[in-house]
């Protein structure tokens, strides 16, 4: 009888200790520094907890302050027209590009998708800019679901800027320009000319640019890009 009572007492004591241990653990877990999603890496899932190591983990450092809401540019800032090429990520369409694309569409062509899954859209819009016809070149990724361009550049569609080596065109260059039906107009920059042609065909624009790159006596030829407040 005494032995059974002793066994029962010991059993009760053991259960009591186990409960007490459990309670202490729970207190420590919950009351001292109960982990939250914000300040600990402890997972919510208890199964995962069992497999956790006992190593000390540190929360990742904050690399920099988050952008503040009032740091957004206000209406005076127009964003840049000329977007950098980062990767195959969509770029934000600038206000100026939107404005250009709200003009009358004169000509639009789409290329085939290349081996990198990228295709281009070449569009000429009539705008109220100083040079009315604007060529917009946009690259799209066939994999990008949003349909946003991954690169976009706008430029005058009816002329290129050419820098002549000796300041003025020689007979050979003049002949090459005449064959391409190009009119030259000097700018304020010594040796820099506006080489004008029909500005309604995006492919003609590129063919002319290619032809000019092979013309004799030219330092460079490049598009007259649209710039905007940045």
């Amino acid at each position: 009888m005494k032995t059974s009572l002793l066994i029962l007492l010991n059993l009760g004591l053991l259960i009591g200790i186990m409960f007490a241990w459990n309670d202490v653990s729970s207190d420590e877990y919950q009351s001292e520094d109960a982990p939250t999603k914000k300040d600990t890496i402890l997972p919510d899932d208890e199964d995962a907890l069992i497999e956790e190591s006992t190593d000390i983990h540190w929360t990742p450092e904050r690399k920099e302050e988050l952008p503040r809401e009032n740091d957004k540019n206000d209406s005076l800032q127009k964003g840049s027209q000329l977007q950098p090429l980062k990767s195959n990520e969509p770029v934000k369409e600038s206000q100026i590009l939107k404005k250009i694309k709200s003009g009358k569409l004169i000509h639009q062509l789409q290329t085939e998708t290349d081996s990198e899954g990228v295709y281009s859209m070449l569009s000429i819009y009539q705008t109220d800019l100083k040079y009315k016809n604007i060529l917009v070149e946009e690259d799209f990724s066939a994999l990008e679901e949003s349909g946003s361009a991954i690169r976009s550049i706008a430029m005058a569609a009816d002329h290129l800027l050419i820098q002549i080596d000796d300041g003025t065109p020689d007979a050979n260059l003049s002949q090459a320009l005449a064959e391409l039906e190009i009119q030259l107009e000097p700018t304020e920059t010594p040796g820099l000319y506006r080489a004008s042609f029909d500005g309604s065909d995006p492919i003609k624009f590129h063919e002319t640019q290619q032809a000019l790159q092979e013309a004799p006596g030219l330092k460079f030829s490049e598009p007259d890009y649209v710039i905007s407040l940045d």
Binding site: W21, S25, S26, E28, Y29, D33, P35, D39, T40, E46, L49, I50, T54, I56, H57, T59, E61, R62, E65, P67, N70, D71, K72, N73, D74, L76, Q77, K78, G79, S80, Q81, L82, P84, L85, I96, L109, Q110, T111, E112, L122, L129, K130, I153, L161, Q163, T187, E188, T189, L192, P202, I203, H206, Q210, F220, D224, Y225, I227, S228, L229, D230
Partner: protein, 373 residues
Amino acid sequence: MVSKVSKFVSLSIYFSLILDIQAQELPNDSLVQMQWHLQKIGAFTAWESQKDCDVKIAVLDTGIDHQHLDLKNNLSEDHYDFVNKNEIAQDDHGHGTFVAGLIGAEANNAKGVAGICWRAQISSFKVLNRNGAGFTSDAAQAIIAAANSGHEILNASFGHSPINGQIYNQSTLQALQYAESRGVLFVNAAGNSNLDLNRLNTRKMIVTYARRGRRLVRQVRYVDSQPIIPSNVILVGATTKEDQRSSFSNYGNKIVPIAAPGSQMISTTLGGGYGSSQGTSFSAPLVSGSLALIWTKHPEYNFTQTKNALYQIAENPEVKTIKHQTSRTFVGWAKRGRRWVAVYKTTTKEIEVSSKPLQGFFIGGKRLDLKGL
């Protein structure tokens, strides 16, 4: 008790700052106390030794409101409108007027705002239309024209976002090199795309298009290319009241050597009024005005010495921030239903970290400061 002491200390610091400001020469312009950037860059201190600018500054922008009462006395006679081809170059957008006010709104005239230069000679070279758009050919021409007409500092905010890894296209670059040969400084906004300009593509991508029968194909080839920035060009990033990089500002110490306040700026607006705006467009004019002050004080300097003097007195602000570090230690095992789970004790410590917020974004973390002028 502790809070009373800290309040007393805070009030003491506050009043000593107020007295410090009052001891300096403050212009009587009604909005000058709201122009936080003046105090931040040490303009009040700088004005004790130099407040007028005897250097011609050209603003290549959307034009300037010539009738604005806070600007008209500080405008030169040299203006040109490359968009509409006239010599008026009146603003029809507002951006150029805002920029001009930051450089040289007439100070101490009991009106509106104060520019960095109390008296100035600002010219309007309009290259952007009423929508804030223009062409690189006009920008290049304006740079040449401004340099040829005796302007020593050119301020520009127009887009120079990277084209094939370059900040500037060839025509603009050529014009900038011409300005460099004439000893003219070109101060340019770094841009508002939150881009690291150090990471510009070094491979130039050339895209051409060609017809192959009925097909239209896109051809891409790459050429090695490094960004070229002439020595007379200063690209300016934007900072906040807290000396942090403004979230929109482009950065990258190889390209953007200095930053200046560009958030919550107050300046002149089109139609004779005043307003608030932000962007690196409004950091650049603070640098232009500061260069004009330095150059006026040291007329013997060439553009390199003027630029270096600006970098030399620029500050590297240090900001204390609180970082939270959380650690956890294994305590033991506990039963949850049928499972045993590991129990951890987590502790979070607050650590004061001293950081130079501009480090990594700008050379030496430089922010425009004129106190050493």
